[in-house]
Amino acid sequence: MSKFNLLMMQLYKSKFKSKSFILMTCLYVLLMSVAIFWSDIKALFTGEDEAQQIAIVNETSAELSGIFVSNGDIAFIQDEQDVAALEKRVEDGKLDAIVRVSDQEGQLHAEIATFVPLKLNDQTTLSSLLQYAGQHYAVQQLSLSPEQAAQIMSAQTIISTKNLNEASTGGKSEEEKQSGLWVSYGIGILIYFFISTFLSMITTEIASEKGSRAMEMLLASVKPATHFKAKIAGVLLLALTQMGIIVAAFLLYAKFVKDGVIWNAAATIIKELSISYVIYAVVFLLLTIILYLIVGALFGSLVSKVEEAGQVLMPAMMVTLIGFYVMLSGIGNPDTILIKVFSYIPFTSGMVMPMRIGATDIGGMVPMLSLGILIATIVVVYLFSLSFYKRSVLTYSTGGVIQKIKTVLKVTT
């Protein structure tokens, strides 16, 4: 085995067996399981709840019983008239609420009487039902024919788009943009978590080798450049392994759980997003991780011991956080100038650009340009780090980050 492979595999094996890696991977799979089985889990927790018993006292002449339909959360009791008896039952806890619907100057008036206030969820449901009932009531007052009434109640605007630019194939539909937005959000979160995990992994790995002074033993036999590359490759391999496990777990779920519903949903989303989006997203994900790993390795070589790793990790973590929050801001509106600017900055473009590709109408040039900037940055940062690493990795110094860089420059030039 070459020295490069030996170093890489040594890192890979030791980290692969480490508790933190196993725990993190399990956590990702667990989170995914929770997301996939959310409805079952929810049922498990809420299924035992009894439906709220709500009596409807209709004091108007209008027919409203068709609106208040019982479901799993609320059971409506219709056609009751004896309010006093009902109030007694509420006080006894046999009934949860009484809704008295009456006419007030042509408008529907509803009074909700409770002994224990209703839950927020039930309150919201009830309010929207009453709102609907109010509209229904108003329509009934106009003495329209049932067909006319039905037409008003079910009125909806039909929206279609027409592209006047013959050069382009037309923009994305709202559904396409929506799914693009949510998938990009997922990818952004994934990039954020991966960067946080593996950035600190490579920094502490190199810092601990430096701190335990195993570094000198190693560098007597391998060139610093080989060591640097092997560390990056090792952590990258580990990141790919973790991604592989997650993807494999997802595919297993998709194929064998819930009769392939998830599989179909995923296939629909990918179809809506187009294959080029998926390729872009994966390329951005990988390149961003590589960029951060290079920076992480360089930072690790700056500190003298593992305890100081946090000091150099802070700035990099801040940058990822900025990217993450810019991406979050894009969920509300992915077309802001903020998003546009950050989608070109190499350290944040991985999180922001997939969102622009998926959820906005941009030409093919924009992501290519952003990708080009990212690749160019990686090359420059790599070459710089490689030459700096040779000098910093055996230099031990105290003080802040700036002081450390100064010391490296002082003692190696």
């Binding site: 030791s14 195993a214 000198e216 033993m217 190693l218 007597a220 036999s221 002082k410 003692v411 190696t412």
Partner: protein, 301 residues
């Protein structure tokens, strides 16, 4: 197979770590690099190992510049103790051996041999961080030469070892020498240097004060250390011709002479033709030479 340093200099922005250093180490010999902390020993080692570049001068191994040779013929034990804390002792040795291009099968015999020799048999499956400092050092030492380097550099190999382990290490160094390994080591424990080294180089603030054989160094000072047991007082002894300094020790009095030739007249005066219990003239110990050379009053030689 020789290592040669010619006019090697390492300058940083505001100070010179190594200044115009010259020495040659012949194949199969043990060479000592001696100096105080900060004298430039570790910097010199790092330059030989191509971990740092020289500002000026050349370092060659067998006529080839060191930065072009195969690194696997070198072995290095750094001054700071460093091994992988969570790796098992045995794995550690395999790892460093493999890193030097050896195969596991080739390594097994040597690892078994050295583990046994350094009395680490019970610890071979233990994680390095659970070992005592001395044992960690032994593991690191084995790791530095498990690949049978032609040239081995040991930076302060004796520090932190108890007398028993020191002897184990000395024996190991001599065994490696027998097997043909050229060894360069640094120490500030002069007794070890005196016992092991064929040649040495004295460093002070990056500059070489002496480079050559131990005997040559001692001869430069001559036999100027005279130990006696006598009833004479210090004042009386100091008044004798050729006596530079007098030091009273527990069982004897040590006179430092200006020159070897005064010894005979001092003997005649002290004994006065009668029996004398102790009169011993000898070379200075390396320790004393080192203190004399490095400790300010540099005697030009």
């Amino acid at each position: 197979m020789t290592l040669q340093l010619q006019h090697v200099t390492k300058k940083y922005k505001d100070f010179t770590a190594v200044n115009d250093l010259n020495f040659t180490i012949e194949k199969g010999e043990i060479f000592g690099l001696i100096g105080q902390n900060g004298a430039g020993k570790t910097t010199t080692f790092r330059m030989i190992l191509d971990l740092q570049e020289t500002t000026a001068g050349t370092i060659t191994w067998d006529g080839q510049p060191v930065n072009t040779i195969n690194r696997d013929i070198l072995g290095y034990l750094p001054e700071e103790r460093g091994i992988f804390p969570t790796m098992k002792v045995e794995e550690q040795l395999y790892f460093f051996g493999e890193l030097r291009g050896m195969k596991r099968a080739e390594l097994k015999k040597d690892i078994d041999f050295w583990i046994q020799r350094f009395e680490l048999e019970e610890k071979r499956k233990d994680k390095a961080e659970t070992l005592s400092k001395g044992n960690q050092q032994k593991v690191q030492l084995i790791a530095s030469f498990i690949h049978k380097p032609k040239f081995l550099i040991l930076d302060e190999p004796f520090s932190g070892l108890d007398p028993v382990n020191k002897d184990l290490l000395k024996d190991a160094i001599l065994l490696l020498k027998e097997q043909g390994t050229t060894i360069l080591f640094s120490s500030h424990q002069m007794d070890n240097v005196e016992e092991l080294c064929d040649h040495l180089c004295l460093l002070k603030r990056g500059a070489s004060l002496f480079s050559g054989s131990l005997l040559d160094l001692k001869k430069q000072y001559g036999k100027t250390k005279l130990a006696v047991r006598t009833g004479w007082s210090t004042t009386q002894l100091l008044a004798l011709e050729g006596v530079k300094d007098v030091r009273v020790e527990k069982e004897q009095t040590v006179l430092m002479l200006e020159d070897e030739r005064y010894a005979q007249s001092i003997f005649e005066q002290l004994s006065n033709g009668k029996y004398i219990e102790k009169f011993s003239l000898d070379y200075l110990s390396l320790d004393e030479i080192f203190k004399d050379k490095v400790g300010g009053n540099v005697v030009e030689v």
